[in-house]
């Protein structure tokens, strides 16, 4: 990433973090819920962007990690009262990361379109696991009756109120996005970039591209799991569609719209796409036509994404590189 893009990326992130911090004070009711959903999806997109961008892995199976964590919460939630948040979240995230480890370990050996097909197959496998077999309530999905509670030493914190749940989401997503931003700039991120550009060279520098990519994939899978957990906690409901490849493709669209080579890009992509959806939905029942058009236009017109595009507008006249 060149210096200018890096600066823009940092500025956008800061702007987003500040703006998002105001949400519980200026918005209310339905709008807070919408902001919560968007923030969670932004976290998912940023986590996915980390493997699509630096690691160069076009995963069309990330929804599976997201969905598995959601199902773990649903299955661990008692019918009678709220689940213990730290415990269930730890198990859900760990479960998602473990699943990502299995998927990554066998998929990352494949490259290009084979990797894509592999991740689709695993995602669909997860979808059918919950859709066709008896686990987790079949195609009807399953409920989280009570939002999990945080048991601290002296008190139990409930997140039933929308503003407070939003703040929880804000903190978790802040951590995830911050971690992705940090990792991209770290030596680890540089090794990933080097492996993406020149695999043989990176190996000859003493690094195994397979291993570094797998580490990135597992980290990202775990983060996707955290977002799935939050979604299940927010809506109190999980369904097999959460794992299917269409859901993965939606997350990829967010990554593409904002730009996979930045941390802020996928988050901005998520915000724009979900706001567009929201507006289109109010307007017509066939809002997916609009989404389809947005995707086609974005792919053709700005394949590198909005953030690099905006950063490019401010570029000095001479040739530059990103």
């Amino acid at each position: 990433m060149n210096a200018r893009l890096e600066k823009f990326d940092g500025a956008f992130l800061l702007l987003l973090a500040v703006a998002a911090a105001f949400v519980p004070f200026v918005l209310s009711g339905y709008e807070i819920k919408l902001a919560t959903t968007i923030t969670i999806q932004a976290g998912l997109a940023v986590a996915l962007g980390f493997v699509v961008g630096p690691a160069g892995l076009t995963s069309v199976g990330h929804a599976a990690f997201y969905g598995v964590a959601a199902y773990i919460l649903a299955m661990m939630s008692p019918k009678s009262g709220p689940a213990d948040m730290l415990l269930t979240a730890a198990i859900a995230i760990f479960g998602a990361a473990a699943f990502a480890l299995v998927v990554g370990a066998v998929s990352i050996r494949s490259r290009g379109m084979y990797f894509i097909l592999m991740t689709i197959a695993f995602g669909q496998l997860g979808y059918h696991l919950f859709n066709d077999t008896g686990i987790g309530g079949k195609s009807d999905g399953s409920y989280v009756q009570f939002r999990p509670e945080l048991h601290l030493f002296w008190t139990d914190v409930s997140f039933d109120k929308a503003p407070r749940f939003y703040m929880l989401v804000y903190v978790v997503v802040f951590l995830v996005v911050g971690a992705c931003w940090w990792l991209r700039r770290s030596a680890f991120g540089s090794v990933l970039l080097a492996a993406r550009d020149n695999e043989a060279r990176t190996r000859a520098f003493g690094f195994s591209p397979y291993v570094v990519r797998l580490i990135a994939f597992v980290i990202s899978g775990g983060m996707a799991g955290a977002m799935g957990y939050l979604t299940a906690a927010q809506h109190g409901f999980v369904a097999p569609q959460m794992l299917a490849w269409h859901a993965s493709a939606f997350a990829l669209v967010m990554v593409l719209i904002g730009g996979k080579d930045t941390t802020s890009g996928p988050a901005i992509g998520a915000i724009l796409l979900l706001l567009a959806e929201e507006i289109l939905q109010r307007w017509t029942e066939h809002w997916l036509v609009g989404v389809g058009l947005i995707i086609v236009v974005a792919v053709i017109a700005a394949p590198r994404g909005l953030v690099p595009f905006v950063a490019g507008l401010f570029a000095p006249k001479q040739a530059h590189h990103g």
């Binding site: 699509v52 076009t58 069309v60 066998v106 998929s107 050996r109 494949s110 490259r111 290009g112 379109m113 084979y114 894509i116 097909l117 592999m118 689709i120 197959a121 695993f122 669909q124 496998l125 059918h128 696991l129 066709d132 077999t133 269409h246 493709a249 990829l252 669209v253 593409l256 996979k260 066939h286 997916l288 036509v289 989404v291 389809g292 058009l293 947005i294 995707i295 086609v296 974005a298 792919v299 053709i300 394949p303």
Partner: protein, 290 residues
């Protein structure tokens, strides 16, 4: 299991395999020759089925559906190559995946807009409506045999075209080496246009002839899409003969899997693809255009 029952399942497997082959051959050419991963192929299959439904409803004549499907398929393919795919040359798979995902949304929603969410049936043409009795309880519909016949004619036709004709030679050359093909005076742009048009037309045709077999419903192409990818991975990208073998294998897995493990049939299909890629991470050998 009685012999007759087994026989019927076997026929069903072959018939399904032939439909799958129609879809997969277009997909594998697109992948092999153009390197394009098209996830919208299942949606085109559904388009075919709805074309059959609409034409039969409007004109009451099934035989019109075949040319209608082929022509619309060719036009659709040509438009998509001309206005979308050709702009992606040099782009990565991410762009292709998302472009085709966008197309899926457009097609699915367009279908809902025009036809609604209800499943529809397409009547089998009169002459093919009979069934051949096999035993007291079992019989086999003639229409399914017709589907097999179309599939077999298609296999022979495309086999001859690839092996004998100038077009086949051009396709094989373009798949082998784009620049070389250009140097030989082959209009690669034209080849791409042709491959996309024909590839999508095959898929639409598959949807047309599959329509009377079961109901026509939203999302009916999803399963076919994933299964044809499995076929291609099994058979080797770009290989038509490989696709045929893969289709037959998958037809068998599907037909018998549904009988014996109704809950796990979908699993088996994905597991097959994953297993192949674990053993051969870069797919089975790519043998172009054969």
């Amino acid at each position: 299991m009685s012999t007759f029952f087994f026989f019927v399942q076997l026929l069903n497997a072959i018939q399904y395999a032939l439909i799958l082959y129609l879809v997969a051959s277009g997909l594998t050419l697109l992948l092999g020759i153009m390197g394009v991963i098209n996830l919208a192929h299942g949606a085109f299959y559904m388009v075919g089925a709805y074309i059959a439904f609409a034409v039969v409803q409007q004109f009451g004549n099934f035989w019109l559906t075949l040319p209608a499907g082929i022509l619309i398929g060719l036009a659709l393919g040509a438009l998509i190559e001309k206005f979308l795919l050709s702009r992606l040359e040099g782009a990565d798979h991410l762009s292709q995946v998302l472009l085709s995902f966008g197309l899926i949304l457009l097609i699915n929603e367009g279908q809902r807009l025009i036809f609604g969410n209800d499943p529809h049936g397409v009547e089998v043409p009169k002459i093919l409506a009979a069934s051949i009795p096999l035993s007291n309880t079992l019989s086999y519909p003639v229409y399914r045999l017709f589907v097999c016949a179309v599939g077999i004619v298609f296999i022979i036709a495309i086999g001859l075209i690839m092996a004998k004709s100038r077009i086949g030679m051009m396709l094989r050359a373009s798949a082998e080496n784009r620049d070389m093909a250009r140097a030989m005076g082959i209009d690669v742009k034209f080849v791409y246009l042709g491959v996309t048009a024909v590839g999508i037309a095959c898929t639409v045709l598959a949807g047309v002839i599959a329509a009377p077999l079961a109901s026509v419903y939203p999302g009916m192409g999803d399963q076919v899409l994933i299964q044809s990818f499995v076929v291609i991975v099994l058979g080797g990208i770009g290989s038509l003969s490989g696709a045929l073998v893969g289709s037959l294998l998958l037809g068998l897995v599907d037909a018998f899997g549904k009988q014996f493990f109704p809950n796990y049939a979908a699993f088996l299909v994905y597991a097959a693809m994953i297993a192949v890629l674990i053993v051969r991470p870069q797919g089975l050998v790519r043998s172009r255009g054969t």
